[in-house]
């Protein structure tokens, strides 16, 4: 029987009732919730005549007007490297205190407009994440501070310098304590500078604070190996990965690097049948869990028991002593067997910030001999250096009045510390407070001084995310406002001459050596990355056993907090692109909510969009989430900000206060909460879930590795049938030279959503707001469909990116009355916006539902108060792509502007196009290389070789639309 996929719970129930989805389709569009005018239409015949009269006179008026005078203002002296109309790329680094990524910044006329992945980086290897892609919009955030502040009023830097120096000197002379509270700093030069700064003012204590701490991992390694480090993880070498609540493909530690490594092991191409296997034990449905071959739902309080059982199984098999333990709620024997079979090529990770759990994880990895292979403590990661005990101590000292000065860099504890109130109270007792925040955030609002830092695209810096792997941060634009880099402030206040770029250069002289420094320094800036020669990795030397212990399972309702793919810990809560990005699992935009297990919801009479109170503290809407383990609920962090800017203020609720604290470690999961339904109250959520449903047709195709080895066409039998049936009277379109095509490997795609934001940035896709998303008008040119199958309590998840398929036989083209959409010589299904009259016939006739209609003028319209109505926000627009006006249809163009640019480059250089040179925005930065793009007429191209795979199929082949985009069947490494 054909496997059934479902996208929502309603659809699942509908299927299981035995009704035929095709006969009784789920209502695609509900008019409930729309205002009356939307349903009936407001205009009468009189209105029509009025409009007619108005438009005729408007046209007459406009046509009699003079053409506006446009000016062309050239440079006084044109900088050598800058040619108007040609983009420059600068290698730089994204690091916001949490996530690291080596990037290229695309600038046009000296303004950054797009972030691309830097494929020279051995760490992030050309991948990016949605947040990295969206970070360019933060540069043009209206909420950024334009001047330094003193006591809530704007001031100048001279005043700041004078006051701060006087304050610091006074505090230093009287020996009173000043705290410098920063996020994790991975820049060796900045660290050195801070040390020098502290040498000038020895009364300063430097504390590192991470919003979500990883201290337990460091502590566990200190106990086991004597080094308080986070080891380097290598998922590429791991044939079996067992994850415990670690969303390493989505948000955990270094997801871009891990996704790259993960995908390298899962390419079933060109006869390769080797594939890693992922086990995931987790207390909510995470992105990693949705990609795991085996996934088990586990309550946070059961995680220790499951892990210790796994330890016992592994220890037993290797003849080591075991611990007495409660029986595991899920069977771990299969996992243990797989781990033992792949000794030295396996990896166990846990994202739980709990010392005991991390000790068990280390012990298992040690028995399996993974240290020195998939884990490396000699080459540790420098991310997440925060110390929770120090932070807790400082908050106490602040409240006791022992701290007299507080400098805050890149931290916002008043919003995201679990004892935010205590911190805010403590701040009141500190005489001298200063924040380097670039916006007036919750913490900066309470500070006496704000010395706004530059955006990272305006700054110099370096980074060392992994020991020995360096990268450079270099400015792509001058500071837009009267801001100053944090490091420059420190230098000024410590009377260090020069600016930070000189300081950085001098520091790099030590790394690169004085000989030939100019050229080697230039090369580092050109490449963006620099690796020190690596020593041989050492094995698991000197493992010190620690006592492991079990714990009792909880009885209450356990809360799991988590970072959303888009929102993270709330640093980008004012970024409209990220606010509107559908979550890969829930497909919700613009809000946070309580994910409730299906069974629990049924038992307690909760349905989607009901409102509940959590601990009586705050209300949130309910989202019934398949795959949410029994006895748990989950809430996203990063919402509920009050001082972030126009787009993000008051969106969702802040849940940081509900962090689970045990033994001084704050973890996201495990707090027992009470949840009460608020009777009669509902809250609308903007989900893209039932949009564009494909009505149960065989679109998502998958098979297991075993089946695939037996029959390469496994799961894709339909393709052969359809190929046979595809008979046509018409001759096939014959392209010459170039036919653009795309292949999407569904085995690799994790659904991370990087491509959605990359596309949005590249193609000037507007943000339309929650209300419009609810009306199913989301403008994204590509979406990631999420299908569920199998068990509703632990579903198998399927992610599938869908954009315009560029059919050779396109149904949309035939129905356009004005030929606004037609076919190009290079196989593109093109859209001429200025010809479109907005009949939307094409939208109706497109079987893939990838066309979007501009219901409103989204630019320069204050009803859409995001970024396209502000002078500053509009600077992010790509000048090569038009901003579409109201009333026209738009869709994926396969980034035609990028294709044209690369063709021109080849023509100017008098050479043929090279495969891989032309990339669309989505394919360029895909962290798993799932999306490949190229010329289908080039026999040596990757897309042609992918299309020769037996796994290849097109969407809805039986319609004979002949798409240029093809998919490769998803292969799951699961035993049947």
């Amino acid at each position: 029987m054909e496997k059934k996929y479902w996208q929502s719970i309603e659809e699942y129930k509908e299927q299981n009732k035995g009704t035929d989805m095709n006969k009784e389709p789920f209502p695609e569009f509900s008019i409930e919730g729309l205002d009356e005018s939307e349903i009936k239409g407001k205009s009468s015949r009189r209105d029509f005549l009025k409009m007619l009269g108005f438009s005729v006179s408007a046209v007459a008026l406009v046509s009699s007007c003079q053409t506006p005078v446009r000016k062309a203002i050239p440079f006084l002296t044109q900088p050598e490297e800058l040619v108007p109309g040609i983009p420059n790329f600068y290698a730089s680094t994204f690091f916001d205190g949490n996530d690291y990524c080596s990037i290229l910044v695309k600038t046009r006329e000296n303004r950054p407009i797009k972030i691309e992945g830097n494929d020279m980086s051995p760490v992030s290897r050309g991948g990016t994440s949605a947040r990295v892609q969206a970070s360019v919009l933060n540069l043009y955030d209206d909420a950024r501070l334009k001047n330094p502040y003193k006591d809530g009023a704007e001031t100048d830097w001279a005043t700041i310098d004078k006051d701060v120096k006087a304050n610091l000197a006074a505090l230093s002379q009287s020996g009173r304590k000043v705290v410098l509270l920063t996020s994790t700093i991975i820049s060796p030069s900045t660290k050195k500078l801070i040390d020098e700064f502290i040498a000038t003012y020895p009364n300063i204590e430097w504390i590192t604070y991470d919003t979500l701490s990883f201290e337990a991992i460091r502590k566990a390694h200190e106990l086991n190996f004597g080094q308080a480090v986070i080891p380097e993880y290598n998922f590429e070498k791991a044939k079996v990965v067992v994850g415990f609540s670690a969303d390493y493909l989505g948000t955990w530690l270094d997801p871009v690097a891990f996704s790259k490594q993960f995908s390298k092991n899962r390419k079933i191409l060109k006869g390769n049948t080797e594939m890693s296997r992922l086990y995931q034990y987790e207390s909510r449905l995470s992105l990693t869990g949705s990609n795991a071959d085996y996934r088990y739902g586990v309550k946070p309080s059961d995680e220790v028991t499951v892990l210790l059982n796994l330890y016992n199984e592994v220890a037993k098999a290797t003849g080591m002593s075991t611990y007495s333990v409660n029986s595991s709620p899920v069977d771990v024997s299969k996992t243990a067997l797989d781990l033992l079979e792949n000794k030295g090529h396996s990896l166990v990770v846990s994202g739980t910030n709990n010392l005991n759990i991390q000790l068990i994880v280390n012990a298992i990895n040690n028995i399996l001999g993974n240290y020195g292979s998939t884990l490396c403590i000699d080459k540790p990661m420098n991310l997440k250096q925060g110390s929770e005990s120090a932070m807790a101590r400082i908050v106490n000292e602040m409240n006791e009045g022992k701290v007299d000065g507080l400098l805050l860099y890149n931290v916002n504890p008043v919003y995201d510390y679990h004892k935010a109130n205590a911190f805010a109270e403590g701040m009141k007792k500190v005489d001298f407070t200063l924040s380097f925040a670039d916006t007036k955030d919750e913490t900066a609002e309470l500070c006496q001084y704000i010395a706004p830092d530059n955006n990272y695209l305006e700054s110099w810096n370096d980074a060392e995310p992994v020991k020995g792997e360096f990268s450079i941060v270099q400015p792509a634009i001058r500071p837009i406002f009267n801001t100053r880099q944090f490091q420059d402030c420190l230098m000024k206040w410590a009377d260090i001459s020069g600016d930070f770029s000189d300081y950085l250069e001098n520091n790099w002289k030590v790394i690169l050596g004085e000989d030939g420094f100019v050229s080697s320094w230039n090369k580092v800036k050109y490449d963006g990355v620099y690796s020190l020669p690596q020593d041989e990795m050492q094995g698991n030397s000197g493992f010190r056993e620690q006592k492991l212990s079990d714990s009792e399972s909880g009885n209450g309702l356990e809360l799991v907090l988590y970072e959303k793919i888009a929102m993270g810990t709330g640093k980008y809560a004012n970024n409209p692109w990220l606010l509107e990005m559908p979550d890969p699992i829930t497909t919700a935009t613009w809000d946070n909510y309580v994910c409730v297990p299906v069974k629990y919801a049924e038992q307690n009479g909760l349905v989607h969009e009901n409102v509940v109170t959590i601990n009586g503290a705050f209300e949130l809407p309910v989202l019934v989430q398949p795959g949410q383990p029994e006895g748990t609920i989950s809430i996203a962090l990063g919402y509920g900000r009050t001082a972030v800017g126009k787009a993000g203020n008051g969106v969702g609720k802040n849940a940081f206060q509900l962090m689970h604290i045990s033994d001084g470690y704050a973890d996201v999961a495990g707090t027992e909460v009470t949840m009460e339904k608020v009777e009669g109250k509902t809250y609308e959520l903007a989900l893209t879930q039932m949009h564009h449903t494909m009505e149960g047709r065989p679109i998502a195709r998958e098979t297991t590795l075993q089946e695939y080895i037996k029959n390469p066409y496994a799961g894709n039998e339909e393709h052969l049938k359809d190929e046979k049936n595809n008979v046509t009277l018409y001759s096939k379109v014959d392209y010459d030279g170039i036919q653009w095509g795309m292949t999407i490997d569904l085995t690799s795609c994790t659904g991370c959503g990087n491509c959605i934001i990359a596309c949005q940035a590249e193609n000037n896709v507007p943000v339309i707001g929650k209300d419009q998303v609810r009306r199913r008008r989301i403008m994204h040119w590509m979406r990631i469909d999420r299908y569920f199958s199998d068990d509703i309590d632990n579903p198998v998840v399927f992610h599938m990116p869908v954009m315009c398929q560029h059919c050779d036989n396109a149904p949309c083209e035939n129905v356009c009355p004005v030929a606004a959409t037609n076919h190009s010589d290079e196989g593109l299904n093109q859209m001429a916006y200025n010809r479109c009259i907005g009949t939307r016939y094409c939208i109706n006739n497109c079987p893939y539902k990838v066309r979007r209609f501009n219901w409103y003028e989204f630019a320069n319209n204050n009803n859409f108060d995001y970024n396209m109505n502000s002078e500053l926000g509009k600077l992010v627009l790509n000048p090569d792509v038009i901003v579409r006006q109201r009333g026209v249809v738009e869709k994926c163009s396969l980034c035609v502007q990028r294709l044209q640019a690369k063709k021109l480059e080849a023509k100017r250089e008098n050479r043929p196009l090279r495969d891989g040179e032309v990339q669309t925005a989505c394919s360029q930065s895909c962290p798993t290389d799932a999306i490949q793009f190229g010329n289908l007429k080039d026999e040596k191209s990757v897309v042609v070789s992918n299309n020769k795979e037996e796994r290849m199929y097109h969407l809805l082949e039986r319609l004979h639309t002949l798409p240029s985009t093809s998919y490769l069947t998803k292969i799951v490494n699961k035993e049947a």
């Binding site: 062309a72 040609i86 100017r908």
Partner: protein
């Protein structure tokens, strides 16, 4: 010179054939007048900004007879890097440097052979007709901008025709039509009804045509010739001084924008040239002032395309080898620049349908194997832009 497009405001409609004939004659003219290779001429274009051949001193000395004055080896060294030579203490170089008010000659990335070719080219007199070279120290009285503008209508305005007075035609016909309609149905004076019909039909036809012509030109700016903040003459620079287009618009072969030259480029010459033929010192002073006050000049953009059009100069100039004149008209004949073509989509497409692609000269086109076969078999005579997809919407609209 056949035509002399000039600054006639408001009377700008043009007869295409005259313009084309002008263009043709111009091309013929340029074809005839050089002796050396095209490459040499292109290389010399850079020199021309400061030197003449027999035209007297410009910024640098007149190059006529330079091969007799200096040794070839010395010239090569000096041309390649004059400053290096001066720094090395070469007496001859220092003398030349000081004679020419110590304006350094920028280094040139030319090979020895290229310079030798240029020297041959100079010996042969270059293509520049001596009579055309304008020297700063001419005897002509310096005319002010106003007098030039007042004079220009008396000069040849061929290539343009007066605007047909569409409005009057339209309203006269409208009135005639109304009168005949009124007579037809109400007063009924004229018994011969066919007269009414003829008048009405003629009025409808001509009125319709007027509306059509006027409506299609809405938003277009053919013959747009705004007053610029600085009275800059292309005729003097590109025409009489023979400065290559690409000397000032130096990104036309690289970028989508041809680029308005930065003031620093003007100052390359106007460091020295402080007085002009037409406007004396007043206009050049504006340029110097802009440079000294660090305030860029706000030029009025003449050739405007709608936002939904993507046009790339590099594609046309560098890849397609389209001459600037083909779209911009005979710029070297215009004092103030005007838009000669209507830059309509029909005009673009017309060219795309006939223009031949550099199909065999560019390795990029090797991948179009079917078209190559057709060319060899004779099925296709030439490959036009349209054959390569030049009529596709998303070549220009995205």
């Amino acid at each position: 010179m056949i035509i002399s497009a000039s600054a006639v405001k408001n009377h700008l409609k043009c007869k295409r054939f005259l313009l084309l004939s002008g263009l043709f004659t111009f091309l013929l003219f340029t074809q005839l007048s050089f002796g050396q290779t095209a490459e040499t001429e292109a290389n010399f274009a850079v020199c021309k900004a400061c030197h003449t051949i027999g035209g007297g001193k410009l910024v640098g000395p007149d190059l006529q007879g330079v091969t007799e004055r200096r040794s070839e080896a010395w010239i090569i060294k000096f041309v390649q890097n004059s400053q290096a030579l001066i720094e090395a203490g070469d007496q001859e170089a220092i003398q030349v440097f000081e004679e020419n008010s110590k304006i350094p000659m920028p280094p040139n990335n030319l090979t020895d052979d290229q310079i030798k070719d240029i020297l041959l080219y100079i010996e042969s007199g270059g293509k520049v007709a001596a009579s055309e070279v304008v020297v700063v120290e001419t005897d002509e009285t310096v005319a002010s901008q106003e007098t030039v503008q007042a004079e220009t209508p008396s000069k040849s305005v061929s290539g343009r025709k007066d605007i047909r007075n569409m409005q009057i035609t339209f309203f006269v016909l409208l009135v005639l039509m109304l009168i005949s309609l009124f007579d037809l149905f109400v007063t009924k004076r004229l018994k011969a009804k066919w007269i009414h019909y003829i008048i009405i039909l003629t009025a409808l036809y001509i009125g319709g045509e007027v509306i059509f012509v006027e409506a299609t030109s809405l938003g277009r700016q053919q013959y747009y010739q705004p007053d610029q903040p600085v009275w800059f003459s292309h005729k003097v620079h590109a025409g009489q001084n023979q400065i290559d287009c690409m000397y000032c618009h130096f990104t036309a072969d690289k970028s989508m924008h041809a680029g308005i030259p930065p003031v620093a480029v003007c100052m390359n010459c106007h460091n020295q040239v402080k007085s002009g033929k037409n406007t004396g010192e007043s206009e050049i002073a504006k340029v110097t002032e802009a440079y000294n006050n660090r305030k860029p000049i706000e030029w009025i953009k003449v050739h405007n395309l709608p936002d939904h059009v993507y046009f790339n100069h590099a594609q046309h100039v560098e890849v397609g080898k389209v001459d600037c004149e083909e779209c911009h008209g005979v710029v070297e004949e215009m004092d103030e620049i005007a838009q000669v073509e209507d830059l309509s989509m029909g005009w673009c497409i017309d060219c795309h349908r006939t223009k031949e692609v550099q199909f065999v000269n560019n390795k990029f086109y090797e991948q179009y194997s079917k078209m190559h076969e057709k060319l060899i078999s004779g099925e296709m005579k030439k490959v036009t832009v349209a054959d390569m997809g030049g009529e596709d919407c998303q070549r220009c609209h995205y």
